[in-house]
């Protein structure tokens, strides 16, 4: 599947690592719910590392949509929450 690391780009990820990515994703989500910043950082760092090391980078001019999007690993817990909020952190283009 195609995974986007926000702020870095897209990767094509082999099927055999997708389940590991999903596990880490659950840990990251649990960390957000528990307001556990170190745990969130650790889970996100591992997700990024997994995608970078097992994935194949898509060229910049590829227009494929991603199947999964991983948030930036260097955001604080507070930033991550704001980003996931309905209001969002991404500004409107107008």
């Amino acid at each position: 599947m195609i995974v986007r690391l926000m702020g870095e780009g897209q990767y094509r990820l082999p099927d055999d690592v997708v389940s590991r990515l999903n596990e880490l994703d659950d840990e990251a989500q649990a960390a957000v719910e528990a307001n556990d910043e170190p745990k969130l950082d650790a889970a996100l760092d591992e997700m990024w590392e997994l995608v970078r090391s097992s994935g194949e980078r898509l060229p910049d001019d590829d227009l494929s949509a991603s199947d999964a999007v991983v948030p930036p690993s260097d955001m604080t817990l507070e930033e991550t929450k704001r980003f996931l909020d309905t209001e969002g952190l991404i500004p409107d283009l107008s």
Binding site: E8, L21, D60, D61, L84, G88, I90
Partner: protein, 245 residues
């Protein structure tokens, strides 16, 4: 729901908000392309803003670096005049200036990282915008209306993701830049209100006191010289008076 799904939802919601504005599918391609070009302009402006903020901090660094040897010299002068209190004040200001310099180095480094991230975003987005432009013409020329609409949707979503990604990078860079500007402004304000002595301007209290010392010395020297002249003059007169007798 995991963090990735929530993130995808945020991105997809942003894209549909963007594309909903073009209700007629036939204008979606051109409309999307227009927004893409705006997105590119925004990231360019974001880079320029970061560079401006960085320059301001670099200028503050230069000023402080000029100030350090001056403060050393002032401390030496004060000490040679027997004013340990003033020497201490000068060295305290030097320590403060050095602390500021360290902070500035870190901030400049932080802004450099933001600049690099934005430059990488711009490069990726530019490559996708160019690919979209080519594909747009192909889709218009080669596909039936129904087929074209599917392909338009795919390409618009693919590039919309990159635009959302760039938008987030710009917003985060702006946050960081604003924090640093606010901090720099707060230091300026403290300096102006006199809470901190302005280490970058001349004519501070320390300068005035040192000038006072050297003025006092000059007066003392001149007094001594005049006294000496008077005394030797007095002695001369006594001699002359003696001779007349």
């Amino acid at each position: 729901m995991g963090l990735m799904s929530r993130t995808s939802n945020v991105v997809r919601a942003w894209i549909s908000k963007l594309l909903d504005r073009a209700e007629d599918p036939s204008v979606t391609l051109d409309y999307s392309y227009e927004r893409q070009r705006e997105s590119l302009q925004k990231v360019k402006k974001g880079i320029a803003d970061v560079v401006t903020a960085k320059k301001r901090l670099e200028l503050q660094t230069q000023k402080l670096e000029v100030e350090l040897p001056k403060l050393d010299e002032q401390a030496r002068q004060a000490l040679s005049a027997g004013r340990e209190d003033l020497a201490r004040a000068a060295l305290e200001r030097k320590a403060f200036a050095q602390q500021q310099l360290q902070g500035l180095d870190q901030q400049i480094e932080g802004l450099e990282q933001q600049q690099e991230k934005l430059a990488a975003s711009e490069k990726r987005l530019a490559a996708k915008v160019e690919a979209f432009r080519t594909q747009k013409e192909t889709i218009k020329a080669q596909y039936s209306a129904a087929e074209a609409q599917v392909r338009i949707g795919e390409a618009a979503t693919g590039i919309g993701e990159e635009m959302a990604d760039t938008g987030l990078a710009i917003e985060r860079a702006r946050d960081k830049t604003e924090q640093m500007q606010a901090r720099a402004a707060a230091v300026d304000e403290l300096v102006e209100s006199g809470t901190l002595e302005d280490y970058t301007s001349t004519g501070t209290e320390l300068d005035r006191e040192l000038a006072q010392i050297s003025a006092t010395r000059q007066v003392d020297d001149e007094l001594a010289r005049l006294k000496g002249e008077l005394e030797s003059g007095g002695a001369q007169k006594e001699l002359e008076a003696e001779r007349r007798k």
